[in-house]
């Protein structure tokens, strides 16, 4: 999606099983020497370029050593087994002044610029950053000329905001976390689990995939920060597809993430989940499509989490509030009520777990070397704060980063979400929430309301040039009738505009759930989490989802009658 749009989907998984190396190259030099080499070259660059007409006032160097191993199985057999990795060099170099540098008023969209290099020697590391610095400095100098020209011919309405707010020096290093690997065992395990999908001829696919991803990050900047962090994510994905008689393709998947293998579900739990996927898919095949609808609905914790991420979170990302093409929904709503008084929303990258679930949006330092801070954006329903990277706002109180400058490799950092947590003071039980909805149905004389049990993701548009809307893609939806009975339905997307939905949030339950996923926006894919209770919304709208009309496979499965 383009700059101000977001598409959020669950991690396209794969499980893990790695070898004896913990990075792309086991011959990597000592972590301290990597940082020393980066620091030495950074200091040399700052010093040597100081005589230039517009010297850099800030440089940061970053290296990410990535390693990934994965195994895919289908119907009890291995289909792919792979191992990959790369060592990526990145730089952020600023010329001009911190209030107006070479990135000023640019939308920061660009293609990822990926530079590969090795970490086998200090000389090699310095050679790579030498070339990268030269290229980036020349590019930044050209950008600064454009910025200065634009500033002469455009009205800058933003006031004295920082393009790069000052930050404090930090020093941090973590121990290497070894990858726990037993590829053959994991192949067998995933084969056993995906074997559950056998014996169901209507399933077109039935997969169990596993992966491990390890990212070791090295960061130094001209403010003296030195950071080395080590992050491991294990993922298991169970998925299956079938096709309904009306041609609809029906897909269901369940993802599990953990920082250690022991945090993943047991075989018994995974097998049970695979069984549930089969049962739900078979039920979905026979479920009716529903017509476009407006009325009350309950969103499960996972669905509500994605909703908050899309309609609230993206509109609180500070850099957007400086972009003239952004709708800036909440820019002037500080200290105004945006949610019920009982609800607060927090972004907290320091939170590692919720219950037993590891959170993906966790980090200690953001991509700009700033400590990730807990930010209470909404307190008792009142909007209080925005998410900020080092590109800050002019208003007092928003001139410092709160550690949410994030990016994928090769892209420029912007303010992004971390772990979103919806807190409720006086929650109801799920049953009470349902009773409230039924009361609304009776009051409005509506036949049914909707319950969104599970979703696959969503996206939102925040630009002014397009409708300021969101879409959430549900996969398990029930009609709830006035008598409390439920009917599984399919074929709709949840749509709407943000302020209209907030105005209609009535209550929340005490059944908080976690949605882990990848958020894609202008600075690339970053891992995020959303934690929310179920919520009751007085009025939502659904529209027909896009749907295949292709007929069922022409020939019956091999081995069946007539084949």
């Amino acid at each position: 999606m383009h700059t101000s749009d977001c598409r959020w989907t669950r991690l396209g998984a794969v499980f893990a099983l790695v070898f004896t190396v913990g990075a792309v190259d086991a011959q990597r030099i000592d972590d301290r020497n990597i940082l020393n080499a980066m620091e030495a070259e950074l200091e040399r660059s700052m010093s040597e370029l100081a005589e230039q007409p517009d010297p850099p006032f800030y440089i940061s160097y970053e290296v990410t050593d990535n390693y990934r191993a994965s195994v895919s199985t289908t119907f009890g057999r291995v289909t792919r087994s792979s191992e990959s990795g790369g060592t990526y060099y990145d730089i952020d170099l600023r010329v001009g002044q911190s209030e107006m540098d070479n990135t000023h008023l640019t939308d920061r969209r660009r293609f990822p610029q990926v530079t590969l290099g090795s970490l086998a020697s200090q000389e090699g590391i310095r050679n790579n950053f030498w070339l990268l610095t030269d290229r980036t400095f020349k590019q930044a100098s050209e950008e600064l000329v454009n910025v200065r020209t634009k500033s002469e011919i455009q009205i800058d309405t933003e006031g004295p905001a920082f393009d790069l707010a000052p930050s404090v020096k930090v020093s941090h290093s973590e121990l290497d976390i070894p990858i726990q690997f037993a590829r053959t065992e994991w192949e067998k395990r995933l084969q056993r689990i995906s074997n559950v999908f056998n014996g169901h001829p209507t399933l077109l696919s039935g997969n169990a995939q596993g992966s491990v991803i390890k990212n070791v990050r090295f960061f130094v900047n001209s403010e003296g920060s030195r950071i080395q962090s080590d992050e491991l994510t294990y993922t298991i994905v169970l998925s299956a597809t079938t096709k309904a008689e009306d041609g609809s393709n029906l897909n269901l998947s369940k993802l599990f993430h953990a920082r250690k293998p022991s945090g993943l579900p047991s075989d018994r739990e995974l097998t049970r989940t695979a069984d549930e996927i089969v049962t739900t898919l078979i039920n979905l095949r026979n479920a009716p499509n529903i017509e476009p609808y407006t009325g009350p609905a309950i969103l499960s914790g996972r669905a509500a989490g994605v909703l908050f991420h899309e309609i609230l979170g993206h509109r609180l990302e500070g850099h957007r509030l400086k972009q003239t093409n952004d709708a800036q929904t909440f820019k002037d709503k500080i200290n105004q009520r945006v949610l019920p008084e009982s609800m607060s929303v927090v972004f907290d990258p320091s939170m590692k777990k919720f219950g037993d679930t590891d959170l993906l949006g966790t980090y200690e330092y953001d991509s700009e070397g700033v400590t990730g801070q807990k930010v209470r954006v909404i307190e008792d329903g009142i909007l209080k704060r925005f998410l900020l990277g080092r590109s800050t706002l002019a208003d007092e109180g928003f001139r410092e980063s709160n550690g949410h400058g994030r990016k994928a490799i090769g892209l420029k950092s912007v303010a992004r979400q971390s772990n979103l947590l919806v807190e409720v003071d006086d929650p109801y039980t799920p049953l009470e929430l349902e009773e409230q909805m039924i009361a609304i149905l009776k009051e409005r004389n509506l036949e049914y309301g909707l319950y969104f049990d599970d979703i696959v993701g969503g996206f939102t548009i925040t630009t002014r040039s397009l409708p300021n809307s969101f879409t959430v893609r549900p996969v398990i939806v029930y009609k709830i009738y006035q008598d409390g009975s439920r009917e599984l339905v399919r074929g709709v997307d949840l749509i709407g505009t943000p302020l209209a939905v907030f105005d209609n949030v009535i209550a929340a339950a005490d059944d908080t759930a976690v949605f882990n996923g990848q958020c894609g926006a202008e600075s690339g894919n970053v891992p995020v989490s959303a934690i929310s209770p179920s919520i009751l919304v007085g009025q939502i709208e659904v529209q027909r989802a896009s749907q295949s009309r292709a007929i069922l496979p022409i020939l019956p499965p091999p081995g069946s009658t007539g084949s």
Partner: protein, 578 residues
């Protein structure tokens, strides 16, 4: 009698009884065979065209790609996959769903990942779904093509040629491949020259793939083909004092990793490449030149590969959905500029040019373009392309044209016809001394101060990270950037120069060469042969090509340097400079 039997006659019996039994992949082959029979006979929808041909290719890969620099790995990918490719043709040979370019970006090929294990029931399930998808796509494409043809003209040739069914089981097995060895090789090789401050950057890329194709079609063809490939590629670049880029590379290709992984020898080649960079960097720039150029060794082979080879391919003009689609894709569609000259002289009168994938070596050197059966199941053979300078035929796959009705067995990778082992023979070549003297005679005749000799040129298919492509703004075959060029003075003295970029219609020049050497040499490289809906919609596969050619003297070449790619020298000195 069902459709399969109508098509195959006795061939299918042979296939079922002997080939499958002889094949090590018998579970896979049996599953393919059983689904093939069931689908060719059973796939039908009321009022919709039926399949008349189904081809299954299972590509099994076990590969490693490693990039390294300065003694360490920078990127690595390993994986094991088994991929089914379904070729589905509906309608008839007169008119089918192939060779149609539309906004749907689909063609007659469908891909699906298969289980690595030989599970007969699961394989059949996966083959069935892929075939079903392929059939649905095929009938849609067929309908769209039929509609488009009502408003357009196209060649009256068949859409699919008639070929004899082939059964071929490759008895060879891939040698053991140790991925750790490959990684260590790349790492160690990348240490060469890492202390050289004049080299701005240098990268090593190695690749080794154990590949087996298993093929069956509804005409009774069945083959298995081991198609292992491997390469070692080392690139390096620097800048001369005026900021111009100076780059070079080592590119070693083979049919197995063990065949090319001679570390001491490769190190020697890399060191020699670095030495070339060192001297070229400080050589004087050539800039502009018009006159004779002697292409030797690798430069002569690349000249043939880039200027002649792609013109030896028989590309069939596709049917376009409409004018807008035609405008969109016409650029990407290569058309042989020699196609209209079949039967005419296109090369020197004493030249014979032939393609022969059956050859494995040439004068003791292994040829990387060797294979015995092509991706359509057609056996390869020697194809005489040019005799006495006259173009006799072009290389073709099973997409016939009015001029060439049958496959020559040259669908090397499944992306369309391609050159693989190309031989140029001449019976009146000159000795090295005679050829150099001829160059100087032309120089004298033209009243020029010097002639030019080039023995290394760049390849458009080898990208050097950090360096703008010297081919920018040029069509392949119209530009040949020299990496190693020498002014040759009338007294025989030579002076190394840089920035010698040939910008001439080299194909045209080849017709009237004033001279060429008696000595021939073989060079291996990779080329892309893009053309047709398969290569554009399914992706192009680089083809390993061996070219055997004499040195070539071009009478009148123009050389100039494109200034747009100059960038100032680094502001900060190299970290090792002091």
């Amino acid at each position: 009698m069902n459709r399969l039997c109508q098509l195959l006659g006795t061939a299918v019996l042979l296939l079922a009884s002997t080939a499958a039994a002889a094949d090590e992949n018998s579970v896979l082959v049996q599953a393919l065979q059983d689904e093939l029979e069931r689908n060719i006979d059973g796939l039908e929808l009321e009022g919709v065209v039926e399949p008349y041909f189904i081809g299954y290719t299972v590509h099994t890969d076990h590969s490693i790609t490693v990039a390294a620099s300065k003694g360490g790995l920078e990127n690595m990918n390993t994986g094991q996959t088994r991929r089914l490719e379904v070729e589905m043709r509906v309608g008839s040979r007169e008119l089918d769903n192939s060779n149609f370019m539309s906004r749907n970006f689909r063609n007659q090929r469908t891909n699906r990942t298969l289980a690595l294990d030989d599970d007969y029931q699961l394989l059949r399930k996966q083959i069935r779904l892929a075939t079903d998808t392929a059939y649905r796509d095929a009938v849609e494409i067929y309908a769209a093509k039929e509609a488009a043809m009502k408003n357009s003209q196209q060649e009256s040739a068949l859409d699919f040629s008639i070929e004899e069914p082939t059964i071929y089981i490759d008895e060879r097995r891939s040698p053991k491949l140790d991925f750790a060895d490959v990684r260590n090789f790349a790492r160690e090789l990348s240490e060469v020259g890492q202390d050289e401050a004049f080299i701005h950057d240098s990268d090593v890329q190695v690749f080794a793939n154990q590949h087996v194709d298993t093929y069956l079609n509804s005409e009774g063809s069945h083959f298995t083909r081991m198609d292992d490939t491997a390469y070692i590629r080392v690139t390096a670049w620097t800048q001369s004092e005026d900021g111009r880029y100076v780059s070079d590379y080592v590119n070693i290709l083979g049919r197995s990793w063990n065949e090319i992984a001679d570390l001491p020898e490769v190190k020697r080649e890399v060191k020699a490449m670095h030495e070339r960079l060192r001297t070229t960097r400080v050589a004087e720039p050539l800039d502009r030149y018009n006159g004779p150029v002697l292409f030797q060794g690798q430069a002569a082979a690349e000249l043939i590969g880039q200027a002649l080879a792609r013109n030896l391919i028989n590309y069939k003009q596709p049917v376009f959905e409409n004018e807008a689609i035609a405008a969109m894709f016409n650029r990407a569609m290569l058309v042989s500029s020699l196609k209209e000259r079949l039967g005419s002289r296109v090369l020197p009168r004493s030249w014979s040019v032939y393609e022969d994938p059956t050859q494995t070596t040439y004068q003791g050197t292994k040829l990387v373009g060797h294979y015995l059966v092509d991706s359509d199941g057609v056996l390869t053979r020697r194809v005489n392309l040019v005799e006495n300078g006259i173009l006799k035929t072009l290389l073709s796959d099973r997409n016939p044209t009015e001029d060439i009705q049958y496959s020559t067995g040259n669908n090397a990778t499944g992306s369309g016809p391609a050159v693989s082992n190309l031989f140029i023979e001449a019976n009146d070549g000159l000795s090295d001394e005679e050829l150099k003297q001829l160059l100087l005679d032309i120089v004298a005749e033209n009243g020029e101060d010097f002639g030019l000799r080039i023995d290394r040129v760049a390849s458009p298919y080898i990208q050097i990270t950090g360096v703008p492509s010297p081919f920018l703004g040029s069509q392949i075959g119209q530009s040949l950037p020299g990496l190693r060029a020498y002014k040759v003075y009338p007294n025989g003295d030579e002076e190394l120069v840089r920035d010698a970029v040939v910008r001439t219609d080299l194909l045209k020049e080849l017709r009237n060469l004033p001279g060429y050497s008696a000595k021939t040499s073989v060079h291996n490289s990779t080329y892309l042969f893009q053309g047709g809906d398969v290569s554009i919609f399914s992706g192009n596969v680089p083809v390993f090509v061996s070219i055997v050619t004499p040195d070539l003297l071009i009478e009148d070449a123009s050389l100039s340097y494109m200034e747009g790619v100059v960038r100032s020298l680094p502001i900060v000195p190299h970290p090792h400079a002091n």
